[in-house]
């Protein structure tokens, strides 16, 4: 204890001074904490958070950008494919249509030809008929003229009969 007293005397240790210095330190602690450490660390933390968030956001944005890019590319590809298909279809359709048109034309031509042929045949027939009739009358006239001069009644009758027969047979 004597040593302690000597120590206190040598260094002039005074509990009042100790308390005064503690009060000083307390003031400094309060001021530093209140005005510097607390708000500064708060803003620093907030800034760190914000930067982290921004970086994350940037990453997200980049990802979404890439996604939209691929989506766009996909859409473009699909559109190209669609267009190709449509063109192909149109081409096929055109081909088909052309073919049918050609077929129709052919068929029509065929029918026209057939009709023409028939008409021709009919005309031929009627011409023949007319011809026959005319020939008949001519023959009759000619024979009459001839017979007026050469034949008898018998011959005449027989000839008429024969030619009638022939006409009938025809």
């Amino acid at each position: 204890m004597k040593n302690m007293d000597e120590l206190i005397k040598t260094f002039h240790i005074d509990w009042k001074l100790l308390i005064a210095q503690l009060v000083n330190f307390g003031i400094v602690l309060w001021v530093l904490y209140k005005f510097a450490i607390k708000p500064l660390s708060k803003t620093m933390d907030a800034r760190t958070e914000e930067i982290e968030k921004s970086l994350e956001d940037a990453k997200k944005i980049e990802a979404s950008l890439a996604q939209t890019e691929t989506e766009r590319q996909d859409k473009l590809d699909a559109a190209k494919k669609d267009a190709q298909e449509i063109i192909e279809k149109a081409r096929q359709q055109g081909e088909r249509q052309g073919k049918t048109m050609v077929d129709d034309a052919k068929r029509e031509v065929q029918t026209v030809i057939a009709a023409a042929k028939e008409q021709i045949a009919q005309e031929k027939q009627s011409m023949l008929r007319e011809l026959k009739a005319e020939v008949g009358t001519l023959v009759v006239k000619a024979t009459a003229k001839v017979l007026e001069k050469v034949t008898t009644k018998e011959v005449d009758e027989r000839l008429i009969e024969e030619s009638l027969k022939e006409v009938k047979r025809q």
Partner: protein, 307 residues
């Protein structure tokens, strides 16, 4: 020197022969006239303690306390200047403070091991660092320790500096050390728990464990009393912490002041300059050591005992 020996001779002569009063008076006048001229009679040496400058009631305001108040004012102004306009995008003074704060935090992290723990202890330790640092450096400013007044003290005349480095007084360092160690212990029993923390010093649990574990491990009957004894040594350790913290800081700063004044006595120009730089470095190192040790004490107190 001649006059002094003369006067002592005269005193003796006076004692022997009363009637020689005229001669004595003459000598006395001579003494008082020569005193202000010769500097030997005014004590200029740095004292181990801070001298009282004036009194407030029965409270002695010492020059170190004055310096400490100056430190408080400086830190107050700085903190206000920073804290007044804190912006999310730092500018000017805020930049420097943020750099210091972030660096100190990282350093503290390397000791505590986790940012969460650091956040609990940091304000205290950082304040200790700043307070000690400013106090150390204030003591180096020219004028502090050299401007003062002359006071008669115990017969002789003593030069009393008006200001003296705050940490060059054991009262300041002892107050800080006591606070640091006490606070670390309080922090310890808050984080670890009162019973556990109490057992760190007075290891009751070590004795309570003996009957339970003696069958498993008979050596425990020797080991645990040793553990309890170690706990008692820890109490001495706490006192040693206070002593080492306070005397280290006081010793370094006081020695620096003695060194500087010694250099100034040898040659007042140029010669002290390198030593002033040295003392600037010592000031920051001592502040750092004090703060780091406090941080270590807190960290140790805050971790549960693992044996």
């Amino acid at each position: 020197m001649n006059s002094a020996t003369d006067s002592s001779d005269n005193q003796e002569a006076l004692a022997l022969a009363e009637p020689l009063t005229a001669e004595r008076q003459e000598n006395n006048v001579e003494l008082s006239a020569s005193a202000p001229e010769t500097s030997e009679s005014i004590s200029h040496e740095p004292t181990l303690f801070a001298e009282p400058v004036f009194n407030l009631g029965n409270f002695n305001v010492t020059n170190s306390l004055l310096n400490s108040w100056l430190t408080v004012v400086i830190i107050f102004v700085l903190a206000l200047a920073v804290g007044k306009k804190i912006r999310p995008i730092p500018k000017g003074l805020q930049n420097y403070f943020e750099v210091i704060l972030a660096g100190a935090m990282n350093l503290a992290d390397s000791v505590t091991g986790s940012r969460q723990k650091t956040k609990k202890i940091f304000p205290l330790v950082f304040t200790i660092f700043i307070f000690v640092l400013i106090n150390n450096w204030l003591g180096l400013i020219p004028g502090i320790g050299s401007i003062g007044f002359i006071k008669s003290h115990e017969g002789g005349q003593v030069f009393v500096p008006l200001l003296r480095g705050g940490t060059a007084d054991l009262n300041t360092t002892l107050a800080l050390a006591l606070f640091a160690v006490l606070a670390s212990n309080i922090f310890g029993f808050i984080t670890v728990g009162l019973w556990k923390y109490f057992n760190k010093f007075v290891n009751v649990r070590a004795f309570l464990e003996i009957p339970r574990q003696i069958k498993k491990d008979p050596a425990i009957i020797f080991v645990n009393p040793i553990k309890a004894f170690v706990g008692l040594i820890e109490i001495v350790g706490e006192v040693a912490k206070v002593a080492s913290l306070s005397f280290r800081l006081f010793g370094n700063v006081f020695a620096g002041e003695v060194l500087l004044s010694a250099m100034a006595v040898i040659f007042a120009f140029v010669l002290p300059i390198p030593f002033i730089f040295l003392e600037v470095i010592v000031g920051i190192i001592q502040a750092l050591i004090f703060a780091m040790l406090t941080l270590v004490y807190f960290t140790i107190a805050g971790t549960a005992e693992e044996h």
